[in-house]
């Protein structure tokens, strides 16, 4: 809700300023927007479909079962992979991570899950490739995954 108000508020202000300054340029902006939106539509729809699929198959209960109390390195790796391939809203992910931590998962496993969840987006890759190119997407996500494992290691030692 806050997000939507922020975006529309900001857009409203910018649009008013734009129309006052030049109607032609505003029209051009709309044309560019429409074209770009149409071009992105297929990858947007794909992302939507895949997000729904993973969230339908990987419920919070399934994830708990997978990375739960069994500590150890394999649980951390598995948590990192799950974090990378899923797209869970933070309002769901953080309570889930908190309950996993209390039920016996290690800090390393939980930080691997949270860090890959927010840094690596396998789900959103089709869109990222469309907008920013294959190389950029591959590099950003694989380096992000490696960094997430290192961060998890450091946090496991620190906390």
């Amino acid at each position: 809700m806050v997000t939507i108000i922020t975006i529309y508020g900001l857009l409203g202000i910018c649009l008013i300023a734009s129309v006052i300054k030049s109607k032609d340029k505003t029209k051009k902006a709309f044309k560019i927007a429409g074209k770009a939106l149409l071009k992105t539509a297929p990858s947007l729809l794909s992302v939507l479909g895949i997000v729904g699929l993973t969230l339908g198959l990987l419920t919070p209960e399934t994830i708990s079962g997978l990375v739960g109390a069994e500590a150890g390195f394999s649980a951390t790796i598995l948590a990192a992979v799950i974090g990378a391939v899923t797209l869970i809203p933070s309002l769901v992910a953080f309570p889930l991570a908190g309950s996993l931590l209390r039920s016996g998962a290690t800090v390393m496993t939980i930080s691997a899950f949270i860090t890959t969840l927010v840094m690596v987006g396998v789900m959103t890759a089709p869109m990222e490739i469309k907008e920013l190119g294959k190389k950029f997407t591959l590099l950003r996500n694989s380096l992000g995954f490696a960094a997430a494992l290192i961060i998890a290691g450091i946090m496991g030692v620190l906390l």
């Binding site: 734009s18 339908g56 933070s90």
Partner: protein, 182 residues
Amino acid sequence: MMEIFKKFKFPILIVFVYIGLAVWIPDAASRSSIVTIDYFKEMALIMPPVFIMMGLMEVWIPKDKIQKWLGSESGIKGAAISFALGTLPTGPLYVAFPMTATLIRKGASITNMVVFLGSWSALKIPQLIVEIKFLGVSFALARFILTLMALMLIGFLMEAILRKHPDKKWLESMSNEIEERT
């Protein structure tokens, strides 16, 4: 007709996966459909203003300004601006991709855009508040600082790699787009 089909081949494939799922695991299929519909509503609300914003940016913000603020010469100030823009409460990551593409077209550096995308997805202020509540201050703080450091490193690394081995195919499609728009 064929062209439309080709463009939408991936979404169509996904529809078939859903149909298969509905036959084999109807429970998961209904859960998935509910999630997809929810996200669709969110996207339908968020994407149009985001793209209009992008259009406005394209028309109004001059290239030299972006180059100065976010280009390779912008240094620590550029990174700080990218970080601050990313942490604003502005919605899911897929919203940021078209904006990032526009900024790169206007001359923003790869390092800064990696920091921008990374803070957008990993260091959002509202998200941080939820994280502190459920995982504690020390966890959230440690992750925040380590992630920020990692993003800078990844940014530098990617800038160096992409400068040496540029993504030619993508650059081509970018220049086509610029031509279309002018």
